[in-house]
Symmetry: C2
Amino acid sequence: MATKYLKNAVGRMIPEEINGKPVIPFQGVDKYITEGRRYAPPLASCAKYPSDGDKRVQDLKTALKKAGIKDGMTISTHHHFRNGDLVANQIFKAASEMGLKDLVWFPSASFPCHEPIIEYLKDGTIHHIEGSMNGPLGRFASLGGMNGTGVLRSHGGRYQAVQDGEVVIDIAVIAAPTADPFGNANGLTGESACGLLGFALADSQYAHKVIVVTDNLVSFPCVPWQIQGNYVDYVVEVDHVGIPEKIVSGTTRITRSPDRLYIAELTARFCDEVGIIRDGFSFQAGAGGTSLAIGNYFGEIMRQKGIKARFARGGSNQYLVDMLEEGLVEYILDGQTFDLAGVRSMRENPNHVNTSPFTSYNYHGKGNFAGLVDVVILGATEVDVNFNANVVTHSDGYLLHGIGGWQNCLFSKTVILPIPLFRDRIPIIRDEVTTICGPGELIDVIVTERGIAINPRRKDLIEKTRHSKLPITTIEALKEEAESICGVPEPVEVGERVIAAIKWVDGTVIDVVRQVIE
Amino acid sequence: MATKYLKNAVGRMIPEEINGKPVIPFQGVDKYITEGRRYAPPLASCAKYPSDGDKRVQDLKTALKKAGIKDGMTISTHHHFRNGDLVANQIFKAASEMGLKDLVWFPSASFPCHEPIIEYLKDGTIHHIEGSMNGPLGRFASLGGMNGTGVLRSHGGRYQAVQDGEVVIDIAVIAAPTADPFGNANGLTGESACGLLGFALADSQYAHKVIVVTDNLVSFPCVPWQIQGNYVDYVVEVDHVGIPEKIVSGTTRITRSPDRLYIAELTARFCDEVGIIRDGFSFQAGAGGTSLAIGNYFGEIMRQKGIKARFARGGSNQYLVDMLEEGLVEYILDGQTFDLAGVRSMRENPNHVNTSPFTSYNYHGKGNFAGLVDVVILGATEVDVNFNANVVTHSDGYLLHGIGGWQNCLFSKTVILPIPLFRDRIPIIRDEVTTICGPGELIDVIVTERGIAINPRRKDLIEKTRHSKLPITTIEALKEEAESICGVPEPVEVGERVIAAIKWVDGTVIDVVRQVIE
């Protein structure tokens, strides 16, 4: 039976079904209003849990068995340990040994350390992955290696999907730097300290069974309980949940590239000129080299003006922590700590606040924090002349990145993408992006080393920079300049088969990724 | 049509229906296992909320109208301001002015300050109250004044009922000492600071509409967000949410009554002799004069032994805070701050931890904290020879108290009731209690000024005190002694009509309260 396709609101052809489930095509920003109800997991009863609160079982395999693991189930994990995670591979090794088939892996993100998962995708233990596939897993999926279709969601979209029952998690495995036998857990202490466990919040609240795995068991109470033991079924002690040096970096550095530094400076000057950097403002940058440089320029401007920011949204790092401790920023609202300074600050400073995809990004909530942020600085692999942007595929068609909080942050008051005009002699600004992850109407400004393009929808910003000395130009002019240097890029040849779907924040499908023909 | 009655597992006759809804009679401790699912409220969408996160509306009446208030709805409030609450009466004044009828008021508790509600019960604005009725409202209900039947639940039972969808809250009104325009709120600061807002947690999570009312609006973010703005629909600013001096007391005092002091000393000595007071133990007392004295004795014993408690469950107060600050207690896990010292400590000390009925008491969770507490000290209005106890009615039949966390605490490892043998020449120990709130199998020890009775089920405690010099006796002997002094109490004459139901922690009905004939 031939798959039917429907054209969605950004003109992409979307299959009617993905992994056997019906699909709602993207209908435009703020257009699809759900009439559903929150997912309702089965009720528990204290009568079925140890009266002394001790939920420990001997090992992960035992916990999976007690949780009733069986063919076709959805198993979730989380990327708090990033490329240092030691737990996810163990789960599927155990599942493979048990002879299980067709599991769905639902990570909040996967990393190169999860390359061994390819074996379990090949042998049928795992049917498909729903979650970002950074690096080798993305390449494997791009070449058509997965039995099912990948589904990529933003951090907020992942919360939304779990909350809405779009994804029903049978078993959540939450790896925790510190936990008690009742299942209370946090990421603040222990040798694998990663800061916070927010990506596992939805899983703890809605999964049918929840297993906490830790290498640092403390006696009750584990305080603070970022994950609440009242949602936890089993606790497993292991030697190591992660490789500390791969979990958080000791240092993240500001870029030294003159081009990137110039882009950062332009971005900061732009924000200053249009009046974004004012007393009590808020911003979200990131932990990349250019973003750090932008934060640094923000700091200089604030010092000069004698003002401070009300809050900065994290990913936190040494630079942001320095700004908090200097008093330039009143609060860090942090979704992910990127270095040890971030972990320490979150542990010690009550103004360095633990957030979650629920508070910050969930579109099916009564608002979220993203909309309250004055300016957000994001990246992109490609941008088109309508300001649509791509963050998941490269121009060669390979799916190599996750969405992260990127889509969610597009709802901030001003969205700026500081990007180089080309990478490896491939222009970044195109007539059409390979994959649309964010609709252009939400993207306000593109800053490159050759000029700044403002989205025509933002008449206010255009007006404010009418007499500016900044190199204001148009997106078309930037595209032409890139093409005059690198030539017009060849279209990429892709196959028919859809290997992954890109969800929008409301659960609709904004685009799909097709198989790469090598 | 005559109401049918069924005898429950503690021998009480329970009507088949209450307020038109079917009833499940109490089936015994840990016997009724729910097969239901968590309540699933309608999903929200950010598209329907202000993009800048500002949810303020002009006044409470406007918020109620926007929330769609109509006849028959269930409106919830919370007792964080205890007898100083200024919000609940305003809600029903507004509702009465709007001509609404048959509302259900679902407070976490009501106090004498809510006496004006009687007017709205009389004029039909309110059909009945589900929640404890302390004082005047209880007296009014006892005399048959309410149109419907009151339903009393423990703090944990209230969370369970909301979580399970047994009570669907149409509109929750959460009065908060501090809040931001997004709806994040806490009880730590502001002139009405009450410590925490845990009793409103279930309401914020499950109510269809949530209104936050505050007299101390701060700019986003209100940190910490004990109530998460992502659950909140509207924010209302008022001049005063409470009367500070009635919210928390400046001082709570240890009893000076020689009898009460003696009971307290006996209780502490008993705990010491049976080995409860050991390094790393945990306890929950309370804020009454006798409980405070027991905590004080515990402190003395710990100092003598050079040990400390791992945690104490609050209601916190100056005495418990002193123990925390002295290092006698590592953590206070607090459900309610009873004085200003408790509020200050919770604001400043990360080891003074905010809990909720979900973490501490919810029986339909994957365990809760109550079972982890080594010893809990509780009160009672009456106890029978089978150790069944009453906390809601007096021996004259009047319903004058709520259940609070009392039922939930019965799941602690050892439950001790230190009570006087008689009050106002009425014996406390009876053949049958007026109302069974807790089954005797969960109550371990009764300590009176005339001796200590151990529940025969606790053979371990009987064994450990076999050679004790403590005045160990039997419950029958205590009853006889009381009757030899006060005489055998006359049975109370009550009517047929059921004026209130007493829920057990699992949602079943353990007893009912009947109308008092004056």
